[in-house]
Symmetry: C2
Subunit: 138 residues, 2 copies
DNA sequence: TTGCGTGCAAAGGTTTTGCATGGCA
DNA sequence: TGCCATGCAAAACCTTTGCACGCAA
């Protein structure tokens, strides 16, 4: 087991991302947001806390776009995130979180018929969101 | 149209990854593999060629694992990748091309229920292939 | 000859690490 | 008091860019 203390910084970081469960933050955004509230937290501290939360299963990390910084998202203690997919609009960049039982069937189908077990947490479906689609299709 | 010359380095890089279509390489692996054959190619040159091949649609770039370097894989130019999905094994790197009417339903469902139109050609579903799953589950 | 390609080194950006100091229990 | 946490700066990494030179057509 891991020993750890409760600290002000750890609480600040956790509260921030927990307050907006389902929303993602980059490490830098967390630092900036806290700074805007007058709470200065070091970069290394943020990374170290996120890392700890990831190992604890409370936070998920994913790459939304190649070549950019990673995103971190609070997911809580219930690990039932198997049906949680990400839809990323390649036009406006919006990230949608979709939890839908239909997508569970997708996983089962692919596992059953193609022998492949999908990791939804690693998968991002790219496409166009409603707004951009309507704007582009004219 | 883009002007370009045929060069020894470009040929070396293309031949290397083309010889093992379906396998992925990091930029560094390409440099090392070529170096092992006595062919020294600069880092920048490798990245520039990969970039060009990606734009030409001959090569795909993946993030297989967070925090590591990107992977590049030859996919050829005669692939109609618009009509099917890709399943990428994050362990062995195998790329499966899946054409299945069930997955067409996925697109329709997400469009209908979530207002999002997926671009299959841009989307890669990550997970574990049968072989790796069985090997890791032990 | 023209102008793209090459390779080195430097720059850029994100994340990690070393170390002295600060803070929790 | 013992030990973890913090924060700064430096390092570590991957990738891109600037620039002078090389090479294809």
């Amino acid at each position: 087991m891991e020993n750890s203390y409760n600290t002000k910084q750890g609480e600040l970081i956790l509260n921030l991302i927990k307050a907006e469960e389902g929303k993602h933050f980059t490490a830098d955004e967390i630092i900036t947001l806290l700074a805007n509230e007058g709470k200065k937290v070091g970069k290394a501290t943020v990374y170290r806390h996120l890392d700890k939360l990831i190992r604890a299963g409370e936070v998920r990390k994913y790459i939304v776009e190649e070549g950019t910084s990673a995103c971190y998202e609070y997911v809580g203690h219930n690990h039932d995130c198997k049906s949680h997919y990400h839809l990323k609009c390649s036009s406006c960049g919006e990230l949608l979180h979709v939890q839908c039982e239909f997508l569970d069937e997708v996983s089962s189908h692919i596992l059953g018929h193609h022998g492949f077990s999908i990791k939804p947490e690693k998968t991002v479906l790219y496409g166009l969101c409603k707004t951009c689609r309507e704007a582009e299709n004219v």
